[in-house]
């Protein structure tokens, strides 16, 4: 019995050592980013200390103004808010239609929309570039936002339809008897009840749009319209050795993501497992 317990304890100790090592591995690069962002241009090449003795906070002000990260940051904010609002409205409307309302060829249309989620189309950015060019939307905020909205629709319709399918119909039926219109029922009853699924959808797309790079690279040429991921590459290309300012810019790009993650962690993990495992 004694040998058994001591073996169990040593397995537990090994488990914790593995977990702690992995946790340090996950956190260290972020820690190093913060540390580097607080050093001066001279210190960064010589001072390898993890916590700088005299943190140089003004790097953040310099990055925000001189590095133009204020413009990139605000652009990212605009792209994220507009895309996510568009995705939520359009996909919840469609999901409600598929789950609750009746019209011919419903399942055909549903499958058609969902199949786009399944088939990987690498290099779709080329025809999208051609399309936006034709619509006169190349190098515009509208063009990029429309691409982002389209990118989120299939997943949104998929998870919201599943949610509506399991939602009890009683309240909606009562509202129908009271003479509410179909849109009224969707807007005032079904949508508020779908809040848990909407939270997952919102956070999932906030992260996706905020972190997106390739489409922003293909669609935009004007610096003034670029989101922050694009801005980081522009800054890195022109100030190749200004590591403190670059690290401050990276930190500015990362802070909203980390805050959103800390607040909405449960929803993020739920959304990502649901998205993957239900396929």
């Amino acid at each position: 019995m004694n040998i058994f317990t001591s073996k169990k304890i040593s397995i537990n100790i090994v488990s914790y050592i593995i977990l702690i090592c992995m946790a340090i591995t996950c956190l260290f690069p972020l820690f190093w980013m913060l540390s580097s962002s607080l050093k001066t241009q001279d210190q960064i090449f010589t001072d390898m200390s993890l916590v700088p003795k005299h943190p140089h906070w003004s790097n953040y002000l310099d990055a925000w103004i001189k590095g133009e990260f204020n413009s990139y940051f605000l652009n990212s904010l605009i792209y994220t808010v507009c895309s996510v609002v568009g995705i939520v409205l359009i996909s919840s409307l469609a999901a409600y239609g598929f789950a609750r309302l009746d019209f011919p060829m419903k399942n055909f249309f549903y499958l058609l929309l969902i199949v786009t989620l399944m088939i990987p189309i690498p290099g779709a950015f080329i025809p999208l570039y051609v399309l936006l060019n034709k619509l006169g939307l190349l190098n515009t905020r509208t063009g990029l936002t429309l691409c982002y909205i389209n990118g989120g629709l299939a997943f949104g319709i998929f998870i919201l339809r599943n949610f509506f399918d399991y939602l009890p119909k009683d309240i909606e039926d009562a509202a129908k008897i009271d003479g509410a219109s179909k849109f009224g029922i969707y807007w005032r009853i079904a949508l508020p009840m779908a809040r848990p699924a909407l939270a997952t959808l919102v956070i999932f797309n906030v992260l996706g749009v905020w972190n997106e790079f390739l489409l922003a690279l293909v669609v935009l040429q004007d610096k003034s319209k670029m989101p922050i991921q694009r801005g980081l590459m522009v800054f890195q290309g022109t100030h190749i050795t200004d590591y403190p300012l670059l690290m401050a810019g990276i930190t500015i790009a990362t802070i909203p993501v980390v805050i959103a993650y800390i607040i909405m962690q449960r929803h993020i993990i739920k959304g990502i497992t649901a998205g993957a495992l239900k396929q």
Binding site: I18, L27, T116, G123, N211, L277
Partner: protein, 311 residues
Amino acid sequence: MVSYSLNFLISFSAKLSMDTRKSHLENFSFILPALIFFCVFSVYPILKTFQLSVYTWDGIAPVMKFVGLAHYKHIFLNNPVFWKSMGNAGIITLMALTLQNAVALLLALIVNKNIRGKHIFRAIFFLPPILSGIVVGLIWKWIYDGNYGILNYWLSRLGISGQYANWAWLSEIKTALISVGIVHIWKGLGYAFILFLAGLQSIPEDVYEAARIDGADEWAQFKHITAPLLVPVFAIVSILTILGTMQIFDLIYSMTRGGPAGHTSVPITEIYEYMSNGEFGYATTMAIVFGLVLFIVSIAQIRIAKKMKQV
């Protein structure tokens, strides 16, 4: 597409009463915005892709030159660089499939054992996957820096000198691809971990209880309960790993841009290069060929998973 489906709808509902028809049209209007988006931003690009692949076009000129299957022929016979880029992505994919997923499974097994601080560990492991590829690439580029990077500083403290002192990890042919692969694994590990953990948590505890009563030790439980029940999760994680890694772009673009001398180039960087050089037709054909390769690999993967399930 839209007018076609509307026509169909109207002719179909002609047989129905006026009221139902009106109600069907109203119901249909709920999915109309999504359908318009779908036609403009998904159907048109897919059709355009196949059209572009048989033309030579610089993206600007009003006239495109028809070349038939010449691009396909050239890619299959005369573009070893493109196939090498697939090989590079393949090597990173193999690293992710083995190393990343093995460690992820191990961590999931440990965390699933009702360990203290379970939620904190889970939150930390899932932090790298939510960061952008550009952010991760730029941070690691700084860590890998040959002259001033913290990695070489530590190695020098450990006494590594001579040829490998100040080693430029990302611009040396020997280490560039592996170094990028390690960053990709660092970023992707938490994602595989979360999926494995969700799979493990869906196995009911009483199955293990019954096995313990029958005298099965931990290894026997893993072999006869956990592993077989995890096969579907294995399949999903593998497919997502393959599709995600083969289409890697942001990390490569921010760390090496495919260098040194194409040793870290991957299909998407190649396609992007051709497109920015104004070879729209050829770049699109590369995308189709690459898409077919991904499709075949996915199908093969699903077949293997199905066979495993039967065993």
